[in-house]
């Protein structure tokens, strides 16, 4: 007898519920007393969606390494989407950064109460979060240029795997440090 639920149903349900609840985290900014609510919500939503899509792109590397038919085209689309989201999130981050550096805002508060949060965490995060853009664009570009050679040269798929993994790691660093800093002091 066919089971009531198959593994695909469970996976899709989990993905949808996880996406919904993760996207609700940045919406908590709406309940704050910040003067920079719109930019912080946009940056938070952008970062959350980007990390989720980048996780998906990392999963799409597996079939590419196994040389599954059509995997390159799917991964390339997800990668370009990730790159656009990374750029949009960086733009929102720049906008929010104005608020962070404003007098009596996040930066000054952190420097007064715990300087390491700004001088180490934020200083590291603000640069590492930019790294995914060149990494993602390069991975997508190589996939497009070398599409026909993927089956002959396994080194190309390894290059893509490396670039996508580094992109995802950098995004995770930015995401976790960003949430951590926002927990200490909302902008």
């Amino acid at each position: 007898m066919k089971p009531t639920f198959n593994s695909r149903d469970l996976a899709v349900t989990q993905a949808c519920v996880a996406a919904l609840f993760f996207l609700m985290i940045p919406l908590f900014n709406l309940m704050g007393i910040s003067s920079y609510t719109l930019s912080s919500v946009l940056h938070g939503l952008g970062a959350t969606i980007t990390v989720m899509i980048s996780c998906y792109s990392l999963h799409q590397v597996y079939p590419l390494l196994r040389r599954k038919e059509g995997s390159a085209a799917k991964l390339e689309f997800t990668l370009w989407l990730t790159c656009v989201l990374v750029l949009v999130t960086i733009i929102a981050a720049n906008w929010l950064y104005i608020g962070y550096r404003a007098p009596d805002s996040g930066q000054q508060w952190l420097l007064y109460h715990n300087p390491i949060a700004h001088t180490v965490m934020m200083e590291f995060k603000e640069f590492v979060s930019l790294f995914p853009l060149p990494l993602g664009v390069t991975a997508a570009w190589i996939l497009r240029r070398f599409r026909d050679q993927l089956s002959e040269d396994t080194g190309i798929a390894s290059v893509i795997a490396l670039l996508v993994t580094l992109m995802w790691i950098c995004l995770m660093i930015g995401f976790v440090l960003g949430i951590g800093l926002a927990k200490l002091r909302m902008v």
């Binding site: 550096r101 640069f127 590492v128």
Partner: protein, 123 residues
């Protein structure tokens, strides 16, 4: 449709361009730690094309340095390398080493240990 053959030199060029862009960006940041007054004047000027640069500060200039170096060096290196074939495995390891060095020098305790924590003005 005939299959187009590309040379792996293109991948080496793309690897190098990423490293040049990121190195330039982190170098400009370290410059702003070492020589804050001069660096900030220059970086503010470079970053002034970005809307809101007055609030973003020298960071806008650092982003611009990284972006311009990455795109410009990619364009030039692509033209230089596109007719050559390189060892992909070798370049993958070279890129991993270069990227690791860049990340290490992005970690503030490392560059502050070398170039000092002062002046303490936050940027």
């Amino acid at each position: 449709m005939s299959k187009k053959r590309r040379n792996t030199g293109e991948i080496a060029a793309a690897f190098l361009a990423i490293c040049i862009g990121l190195t330039g960006m982190i170098a400009s940041h370290i410059w702003s730690v070492v020589d804050q007054i001069n660096a900030h004047l220059t970086l503010l000027k470079i970053g002034s094309w970005i809307p809101g640069w007055w609030g973003i500060g020298p960071y806008a200039g650092k982003e611009t340095v990284g972006l311009v170096l990455w795109i410009a060096s990619w364009f030039v290196l692509h033209l230089i390398f596109k007719r050559t074939n390189v060892s992909l495995k070798g370049w993958t390891y070279v890129f991993m080493v270069m990227f690791s060095i860049i990340v290490i020098f992005t970690w503030p305790p490392v560059y502050h240990a070398i170039w000092g924590w002062l002046p303490t003005l936050p940027f």
